[in-house]
């Protein structure tokens, strides 16, 4: 609370500037009046003097009087009002005295005493008036006693009347004057008080204005969207950020409702939230979708609170929200990464398990047959020894191949040639050429579809994919008399991707084996050649290219179709 500036009220004899000014003005006016009155008398006096009616001394006195009044008036104008203030009552007093002396106590000249007292009170204050009264009474009664030419008893009524009259007049004047002074002081104090109060109020208003300006610029420069709505849901405020979010000016928002700014289903939801907030009086904190009309959806965190006036009544809602799409996206990406990592971990676990299992198998064979070999040697079974050694050789050979293929599998994704756009047909032709011997030996016809699209990837690896799939098809032709492999493509539901297929008319697959065929070292037929790495390799290569591989078959002896997807252009991941 600022200090109140209070002017001290006029007390005692101390005269305020205002008092001084008032007295100066009065003095000047009275002197002027006296001067004018004197001027009225100038002509008859001059004429009277010239005709000998007035003696010269009297004329000179009057002239001197005029000069005194004029001088006082001039001084008063210059700011020295006190000589005039003394002069005016003094002149009146002298006039009264003059009349009383020359004409007698009961003359009407005593009126001048009254005027003198009145002027003294007015110009010099009540105290001066009372002093003058004492002087008047003493002098006048003194004159009266000196010049008393009638018995005191006869003059007594006149003396009493005179004394009482002047006393009464003085009291009335004193009373009136003090009343006026009081009223003036009161008026002045009221005025002072009002002035102070107004000054204070102006100051407070200015301070409030300043703090409001601070709040306003704070809200306007916040990076959050801020708005408020009335009870009916009309916008009553929107900060710059909110205007920018909605793509409208503040005038296009204030007075509007959510239905004017947002899709109906969102407007409905916002309105329900508003009602909930206003009914409960509680602040809510939610994550939701936001969509200005004609713009894209995004995720926001919203805090909605009731708008409360000075009396505690709820007059609407206040909302603050900010875009959390990036945070959500980051969280989503993190979750995806975790899921991917978990899948990879599981795959790795399976891989380790499979590898340890499958590498152990030839070891058991080798050690086992070494034992049997020893037995055979002791028993002299040379024919069996040959077979045992053969098995040991084959087991070591299988182990070598397993290790080679494991190494190969681990290289995919780690060591890759720079991806580029390649004609899929070229890939297929190269793979089929590499398998030419095998295909001819089994008499397999390969049909390659025309107009195959281009794909984006590592050429060498993609050749491996086709090579493995065709090799697999040849292996599982069974007793098919007219083995045939068809390679083609069709449009995928996923835009930018193409589904390729390698179809055979071999032994086919049962549904429970669809997933298994891609497992490492999983062989559906114990007698089939190979290590069970081929299709695992295909899966790995396709996945590294961002695609998917699956198998379909109408059942045993119905043939098998392997499908996989590849992108035509670089993937944006």
């Amino acid at each position: 609370m600022p200090d109140l500036i209070v002017t001290a009220p006029a007390t005692g004899t101390r005269m305020t500037d205002e008092d001084e000014l008032r007295r100066k003005a009065m003095t000047q006016t009275i002197l002027a009046m006296m001067g004018v009155t004197l001027l009225v008398f100038i002509v008859p006096i001059v004429l009277g003097t010239l005709s000998g009616f007035f003696d010269v001394e009297a004329s000179l006195i009057i002239l001197l009087l005029g000069v005194a009044i004029g001088a006082s008036w001039w001084l008063c104008r210059r700011g020295y009002w006190r000589p005039g203030a003394y002069l005016a009552p003094a002149l009146m007093f002298i006039l009264g005295l003059y009349g009383s002396y020359f004409i007698g106590l009961s003359t009407s000249f005593v009126l001048f005493y009254a005027i003198a007292l009145w002027l003294a009170s007015l110009l010099l204050g009540n105290r001066a008036m009372w002093r003058l009264l004492i002087v008047v009474l003493v002098v006048h009664l003194g004159f009266g006693l000196v010049r008393l030419d009638e018995p005191l008893g006869d003059a007594l009524p006149a003396i009493i009347t005179f004394t009482g009259g002047l006393l009464g007049l003085s009291m009335l004047q004193s009373f009136a004057s003090s009343q006026i002074t009081q009223a003036l002081a009161q008026a002045r104090s009221t005025a002072d008080h009002l002035r102070t109060e107004i000054a204070e109020r102006v100051r407070v208003e200015e301070a409030r204005g300043a703090s409001e300006a601070v709040l306003h610029s704070l809200v306007e420069s916040l990076p959050q969207n801020v708005f408020s709505k009335d009870v009916q849901g009309h916008f009553i405020f929107a900060n710059q950020r909110y205007c920018a979010t909605e793509g409208r000016t503040v005038h296009e928002i204030v007075g509007k409702t959510d239905w004017d700014l947002h899709p109906p289903e969102l407007a409905q939801k916002y309105r329900e939230d508003d009602r909930r907030v206003m009914e409960s009086g509680q602040t809510i904190d939610i994550v939701e979708e936001h969509q200005p009309l004609g713009k894209d959806k995004f995720y926001v965190q919203v805090i909605k609170a009731p708008l409360v006036d000075a009396h505690g009544a709820i007059t609407g809602t206040l909302g603050i929200f900010w875009d959390i799409t990036d945070q959500r996206r980051a969280a989503q990406e993190r979750e995806n990464l975790i899921a991917e990592l978990q899948a990879k971990n599981e795959e790795l676990e399976r891989f380790t398990y499979t590898v340890s299992h499958d590498l152990k198998a030839p070891l058991i064979t080798i050690r086992g047959f070494l034992g049997l070999l020893q037995q055979d040697a002791l028993a002299g079974e040379h024919a069996r020894m040959q077979a045992d050694m053969q098995r040991i050789m084959e087991a070591t050979e299988r182990m070598r191949r397993l290790l080679d293929e494991l190494l190969e599998l681990s290289r995919i994704g780690r060591i890759m040639n720079a991806p580029r756009e390649i004609s899929f047909e070229a890939i297929v032709r190269e793979a089929v050429e590499l398998l030419d011997g095998q295909l001819k030996a089994r008499g397999v016809q390969v049909h390659i579809a025309r107009g195959l699209p281009t794909v984006y990837g590592d050429r060498m690896r993609l050749v491996e994919v086709i090579q493995n799939l065709v090799d697999n098809a040849v292996k599982f032709m069974g007793s098919q008399p007219a083995p045939r492999i068809e390679i083609g493509a069709r449009v995928s539901e996923v835009p930018g991707q193409t589904v390729f297929f390698v179809q055979d008319n071999g032994i086919g697959l049962e549904p429970h084996s669809y997933e298994k065929v891609f497992g490492l070292f999983n062989k559906l037929d114990a007698r089939s050649e190979g290590t069970g790495v081929g299709l695992a390799l295909v899966k790995r290569i396709v996945e590294v290219h961002g695609g998917r591989v699956w198998v379909e078959s109408p059942g045993l002896n119905g043939g098998t179709t392997f499908y996989f997807t590849l992108a035509a252009a670089p993937l944006h991941r």
Binding site: A361, T365, G368, K523
Partner: protein, 147 residues
């Protein structure tokens, strides 16, 4: 061994391991006859007398089944499950004989009421000893229900 032929069913996709098992079993004169199957499907066909095995007299139930876990077409665990779910077959002792020591495989095998779980030892002496003990235990000491 009451003079009747003792039949062991061996379900093993690894030909070398099958040979190893059969030769060590023969060496210890454990079984008169061993029937070897390379995948789960043919083993089940035999047990249910389907396809090539419809002749019940020619294809009697085995006294014990030695079953590998990782098998082509129908895997060992599925074979085990089908045997133990079948009223005709569930009394036949099934011994898992595998390279896998994984807890998951052991647990799942016992979940499906396997009678025994053996891990193939690396080393001829151990392998041979295991086969001998196995024969004595399941075909000697162990009493099977008379059906």
């Amino acid at each position: 061994m009451n003079g009747e032929p003792v039949l062991v069913m061996l379900v093993e996709d690894n030909i070398d391991h099958a040979e190893l098992v059969m030769r060590t079993l023969a060496e210890h004169r454990v079984a008169n006859r061993v029937r070897h199957f390379v995948d789960g499907q043919s083993a089940l066909d035999y047990l249910y007398h389907r396809n090539a095995y419809t002749d019940v007299a020619q294809n009697p139930y085995p006294h014990v089944i030695l079953l590998d876990l990782r098998l082509p077409r129908v895997d060992g665990l599925e074979v085990l499950k089908q045997i133990k779910d079948s009223d005709e077959l569930k009394h036949i002792p099934v011994v898992i004989l595998t390279t896998s020591e994984a807890d998951r495989d052991v647990t799942r095998a016992y979940d499906h009421h396997v009678n025994s779980y053996l891990v193939k030892p690396v080393g001829y002496e151990e392998f041979s000893e295991l086969m001998e003990d196995l024969g004595f235990y399941w075909l000697g000491w162990n009493t099977n229900p008379q059906l």
